[in-house]
Symmetry: C2
Subunit: 215 residues, 2 copies
């Protein structure tokens, strides 16, 4: 089996979002060219990305929208319920717990963990907040396998290890700390900085292009 390239995986949710819109507009089929134009991508790239999901477009008609939605959701495991806990419910953690789109794709936060006595025992966006010392036990008892981390940097590695000790196998890391965990543990870093790097560099590149259009 081939591992799917990260850029492909990162584009699939965008396709999915567009496909929902097209379906809601009553469309039944869509070509890679239409998808590419709507999302300002290259049609060949779109076709290659979709190939990973094993959906085959038909000549002239393109892809069946319902089928493509179904297969992308399945491919990403977005058609199944996935319980998740979150460690750290400061302003970012709170924003994540309140983010409405996660429910749509099967992510259900079942608990939050923090060190702040004022937060422990309370509910944030209707999700119970527990003492972070209970993290490992809670995970072991609930059998949850996804954990998100938004704690301050210096505690990130420790918290991740506590999650793994309880049985978490997939960590969504919102901190800047590079985690070092066993090779069976899947870690995905969700950070603002990579996106900001693209934005600020593109601004510089646009300025250079404007000043030296022939380069």
């Amino acid at each position: 089996m081939k591992t799917t390239p990260k850029p492909t995986l990162r584009r699939l949710p965008t396709y999915l979002h567009l496909l929902y819109q097209l379906r809601d507009q009553g469309m039944e089929n869509v070509s890679s060219t239409i998808i590419a134009n709507a999302l300002k991508l290259d049609a060949t790239q779109v076709r290659k990305d979709i190939e990973y999901t094993n959906v085959i477009g038909k000549p002239k008609r393109g892809y069946s929208i319902t089928e493509l939605i179904h297969e992308i959701e399945k491919f990403l495991c977005w058609d199944q319920e996935k319980d998740m806990v979150i460690a750290g419910v400061g302003s970012l953690g709170t924003a994540i717990l309140g983010y409405p789109d996660f429910r749509e794709i099967g992510v259900r936060f079942i608990a939050g963990f923090d060190t702040d006595p004022e937060k422990i025992g309370s509910k944030i966006h209707n999700i119970e907040i527990y003492d972070i010392n209970r993290l490992t036990d809670f995970i072991r008892e609930s059998g949850v396998s996804f954990g998100a981390i938004t704690v301050p940097g210096d505690r990130t590695q420790e918290i991740a290890e506590k999650m793994v000790a309880g049985g978490v196998t997939a960590i969504w890391n919102f901190t800047r700390t590079q985690l070092h965990l066993g090779k069976d543990i899947i870690v995905e870093n969700a950070r603002f900085m990579p996106s900001l790097a693209v934005l600020t560099r593109r601004v510089i590149e646009a300025q250079i292009m404007k000043e030296h259009p022939k380069d």
Copy 2:
């Protein structure tokens, strides 16, 4: 001039974060192999990424850490102050305004905008919140060129156009809406979904590999 590939740009902040740590530990030089091992990347990839910033490593000694930090910061425009406004100060907008790391890289939020009368006139993380109807005028008067958007989906395009009308040229879009703006406007989408797609797919891939190790 070559446009820098997005995956390269997305990795540069991670290098930078590691380089700060190495510098603080008293190191003066670093090889691409050390960087690659620390970040679980391929050393050739690291060398290629760094080549874009025009820093040349020396045989045996590798890169000068101070020089590399300086050049990556310059390359990303992170060595200069960049004012930014944000439209939408719900839980995500509030988290962004309070995110401590933006100041380090020269991003300064100078105002927030919202429709909520309770928020208008107040301060969030010490940043003044204004009526969203003042967005275009505020941008025109302040000369700010960066705008972040976290408003609900159906108003995203309208808000982006208001920003552009005031003079914003670079938009950091946190919503799922695909923006359609003039070709001179730089848009970078910062979304949770692409990252979550990588996480959930990698979990499936790990399961498949476990069940069919020979594939």
